[in-house]
Symmetry: C2
Subunit: 334 residues, 2 copies
């Protein structure tokens, strides 16, 4: 075990606009043996998330940027090869910020042991992982939907959006999803049970919002920002809640972010727009995961993973998030 | 009393950009005698507010637009000349939406009797009226400041802003005001007790915010919108609250409203931006006015009125709100 190879992507420069392969160094180093309190993990699945684009930028954010020369940060799941940490044994399966690499040596306290008998491993990076917790707490704790209200969610076929809509249906709401392309729109209505879908690639969003939300919008769960946020702001109800979870349309901007010109709709409607970061709910993950797992078991919640094989495909696979090519929770199988 | 003359401003056309005299018809009609449930009021003071600009525009808002040909809506104070309503007598002083006219005939149920022995009449249109209630509930119920936090307020020498800052000081906060010109800046610091002032006409706001808010911004009370909102968004703290009370910089736009390009600071900081309309707190006005009146009596709260004589000056006097010429709560003395 002493000379295992660790294939890894390190951030070589700060990307401008869309991420390119040259923004990273793909190299192989000897894996580092664990020290006291650490574990060495064979990484199996790496979660690819829109937020990773922000972590590559310099500047103050909710988490420190990935440093130049560092292994790219990513949530991942793997099996312990060696442990120097109490309570963690070889063969245990863990999740944590293992990074875009094949072997991670990391403090055990920063990882969470999971029980792979409970669900297929990829689910622990989707419905039972960060996207699941983001959807659960973002919708329920920030959006505060009430039965009978209308929820609109963008990025509706994505990892978070698909769960937001399904949780909304479980809570008795009228749910409309905005997604790109006929296949995704069909999927969220026919397979996930959304009440309606709007195809932002081929339909006029304002007119379709009026059709599909005849009673206006009470909760808008925003994953995309840009013009769609503005279109939704124009049709919110009194005391509406807008959950700002992401702004994928703006992450690769090389020009200034487009602010929501219709923000004064918040004033007219006494509505609120509130940002949400899943890490704030860490002390409630167990509660969220328990309820999500029971909905999965009961068949009330479906989770779709989009799994790409090959660590070496990382930069190109990540790029699929921003072109709308992925369908379901995107992850790499190492 | 049968042929009293009512001088009045009626909305003649929908203004484009800044309000012009030609947007109104100034005419004299016989005053209408009150019918059952109505009172006829000699209007003494008319409140001039930024919100009036919005009421002149067509389209859905929190209140119906003033119709073409109708007397311009305005809050005002006057003395009853004739009453056909129980509980209201000749000589009683009332406030209500009496309009921009010298004599109003109006349903008594839409007016509030006030006790002119408690405070000078103009105060019932400022600290004890809508601006006072806006400041009180906007800051305390929406902004939710905690002692030791930093509050920034724009339009800080205006009717609402000056009260917001003083209430913030009473609540134990660090308070910074943004106002236009050295005289207003001196006033809010030296006379009202703000901790610091930023002159948006001569100073660089981002640098001055860093200097005057070394611990960041916890509550931003926005009366102006535009670039100042963006500058404040860039310096908010975790879980900051942004109260959207107005956007006077945008009310006369003939181009699209400038959306806050830094709105993703809400995401990074898990902050919220929430609109506020004073009418929503109508059932708590008595509570707010009681506390404001006691602070006024104790000398902890100062109110400044900017009273212009002459109903006929209405369009020009209203325009002073948008050029920053007024200083204190602007009103007309009929």
């Amino acid at each position: 075990m002493d000379h295992q190879e660790n294939r890894q992507f390190r951030l070589a420069r700060r990307p401008v606009g869309h991420v390119k392969r040259e923004d990273f160094e793909f190299r192989t180093d000897p894996a580092r043996a664990p020290e006291a309190g650490e574990i060495m993990v064979a990484v199996e699945y790496i979660s690819l998330d829109p937020a990773m684009r922000g972590w590559m930028n310099e500047g103050k954010s909710y988490i420190r940027p990935v440093g130049l020369g560092e292994v790219m940060r990513a949530g991942a799941l793997g099996t312990i090869l060696q442990s120097k940490a109490e309570g963690f044994s070889t063969g245990d399966v863990v999740t944590g910020a293992l990074g875009v690499q094949s072997i991670a040596t990391i403090a055990a306290k920063d990882c969470t042991k999971i029980d792979p008998a409970l669900a297929p491993k990829p689910l622990f990076l989707s419905a039972l992982g960060m996207p699941g917790m983001t959807a659960y707490f973002g919708l329920l704790a920030v959006g505060e939907p009430k039965p009978g209200e209308t929820i609109v969610v963008s990025g509706a076929a994505g990892a978070v959006g698909a769960l937001v809509g399904q949780i909304g249906k479980i809570k008795g709401c009228h749910v409309v999803g905005i997604a790109g392309g006929a296949e995704k729109c069909r999927y969220i209505v026919d397979e996930l049970g959304f009440d309606a879908a709007i195809d932002y690639k081929s339909e006029k969003i304002p007119a379709r919002l009026r059709e599909t939300c005849p009673e206006g919008i009470d909760v808008y769960f925003d994953n995309v920002g840009g013009q769609i946020l503005d279109d939704c702001l124009a049709q919110i109800n009194l005391r509406a809640r807008i959950v700002i979870c992401g702004a994928i349309s703006q992450y690769n901007n090389t020009t200034p972010v487009k602010g929501p010109a219709n923000y004064l709709s918040l004033l007219v409607n006494r509505a609120r727009m509130q940002g949400m970061i899943v890490f704030d709910y860490a002390d409630r993950y167990a509660e969220g995961a328990k309820e999500m797992a029971s909905w999965l078991r009961e068949g009330r919640l479906k989770s779709r993973e989009d799994i790409v094989e090959g660590l070496e495909t990382f930069p190109d696979t990540l790029g699929r998030l921003f072109t709308g090519e992925n369908f379901g929770k995107l992850m790499l199988k190492v």
